[in-house]
Amino acid sequence: MCLGIPGRIVTIDNADDMVATVDVCGIRRKINICCVVDDEHPVASCVGDWVLVHVGFAMSRIDAEEAAETLKILEELGEAQAELETMQASEALSEAAE
């Protein structure tokens, strides 16, 4: 919860709600990006950016090297896998309720 996980913004899905699809270790899910958008970084310019994702929200823009190092430490801490599993399980739960 507190460490977050790096991901890369793939597409902008809803510019008004600032929702984007982010690729986190090959898993794609919708992420809110409003905390990394400002006048210097408008929504449209975010595609391709690496961000640190906390509970479904991109909270900080990071560079590719920082992303790789952070992922490595999350793997060593045993947090990366747990985070990815939660991400996928959560999606499944939302869909199962359909």
Binding site: C2, V55, K72, A89
Partner: protein
């Protein structure tokens, strides 16, 4: 779910990570830390006590065996920065009471599932038939609300400033979408009043702090200024990699040696001076400070939690469900409070490793991997060493 992954990993988790990036750099830092400590007169009389406030740092420190690398004259005190660990029993009881209502889908982060309440944990409530679901994000809870208009979907909002913006932004989204069956049970807490309470505590001798990385990413370093100015203690906001932590410890020692008390930012690559404007705006719009909030082990601390503003009452589970909100005293055998304040080490607690283990936690510090007791139990502390490891291996 969070409790499914624990057992399988425990065996491998007992070993420190032997090799990490730039081991040579780490060794240089450790050497420099030793030199600095030898140059500080106070460190010759008693070990210097540095508290890492954040649970993420606690996890990293144990995983990489950082305590063991430090000279005897430098000790780390593991602070209250794990939101799951400081959740009082009464609030867990409130969650269970809400979750047991037949009209409710109760959603939570996985970490909170196993925290003991006075009757049961959320995990036990689920086993007993309550509709409790682990979600990754509050936005998933909102999606559940959209898909289940006949049910009341409650999200259990916990965490410090790192996760506070996410629930605030989800409430704002629910408002924009006109959702009427989504509620946040707001138990967000704020770290600054708690650091102040710890600094005011008479049984504590702290010489400096490692400041939280991702809380500071949202707030910026400014809210900590009082620590340097009024309490005359140095703080270094730190990243989570072993090199970050070692460098931050070195920076704290350098301040002590030079007689400086400042808030320094080792994690500037993530922590901007002004914090995150969009996140702070959402938090300010949705939340206001509570008069006080109850912490497990630490008791009631003034202004240490937030609640939803009147303008967002229609998303406030606390108003909607009239929660019992009963104060439950922590189990007497449990010494989480003393551990949190650094007055005793986890292994000095009467029930550590006997009545209280990660499988059957009595106190919250044993529940989460970010809790000091679970970390000591899993990795073995500097002093518990082999004994705790052997015990865990046979468990």
């Amino acid at each position: 779910m969070s409790n499914d992954s624990g057992n399988g990993k425990q065996g491998s988790g007992l070993k420190y990570v032997d090799e990490f990036r730039d081991r040579a750099k780490a060794q240089i830092l450790v050497k420099e830390i030793g030199k600095l400590a030898a140059d500080i007169p106070l460190a010759q009389q008693r070990p210097l006590q540095i508290m890492e406030v954040c649970g993420g740092h606690t996890h990293s420190i144990f995983r990489y065996g950082i305590e063991g690398m430090l000279p005897k004259s430098v000790e780390l005190v593991h602070g209250p920065g794990c939101p799951v660990c400081v959740l009082p029993m009464g609030r867990v009881d409130d969650c269970v009471a809400i979750a047991e209502r037949p009209d409710v889908i109760f959603t939570t982060f996985g970490d909170a599932m196993r925290v003991p309440g006075s009757r049961k944990s959320l995990s036990q409530a689920k086993a007993d038939g309550a509709d409790v679901r682990v979600v990754y994000s509050p936005m998933d809870a909102l999606a559940l609300a959209c898909k289940n208009p006949e049910r009341e979907v409650v999200f259990f909002g916990i965490g410090f400033e790192t996760t506070m913006p996410s629930t605030a932004l989800t409430v704002l989204q629910a408002e924009r979408d006109g959702i009427t069956n989504f509620w946040v049970f707001c138990n967000h807490i704020t770290i600054v009043p708690t650091i102040k309470a710890i600094l005011d505590s008479p049984d504590l001798a702290l010489d400096g702090f490692l400041g939280p990385g991702h809380v500071s990413m949202v707030t910026g370093p400014a809210p900590y200024e009082f620590i340097a100015r009024f309490y005359r203690r140095p703080m270094v906001i730190s990243g989570f990699e072993p090199l970050d932590v070692l460098q931050s410890i070195w920076m704290v020692l350098r301040q002590i040696k030079e007689g400086r008390c400042e808030i320094e930012n080792q994690y500037a690559r993530i922590v901007p001076e002004a914090g995150n404007a969009a996140a702070l705006k959402a938090v300010g719009q949705v939340y206001e400070l509570r008069e006080f909030f109850e912490w497990r082990g630490l008791g009631s601390i003034d202004h240490s939690g937030v609640k939803m503003r009147e303008a967002y009452a229609r998303f406030d589970a606390e108003r909607r469900f009239a929660v019992p909100n009963v104060k439950i005293t922590d189990p007497q055998s449990c010494q989480c409070g003393e551990v949190l304040k650094g007055a005793i080490k986890p292994w000095q607690c009467k029930v550590f490793g006997s009545a209280c283990t990660p499988e059957t936690p009595l106190g919250a510090l044993m529940v989460s991997s970010e809790g000091a007791c679970a970390a000591y139990y899993q990795y073995g502390g500097k002093r518990t060493g082999e004994a705790a490891a052997a015990e865990a291996e046979t468990a």
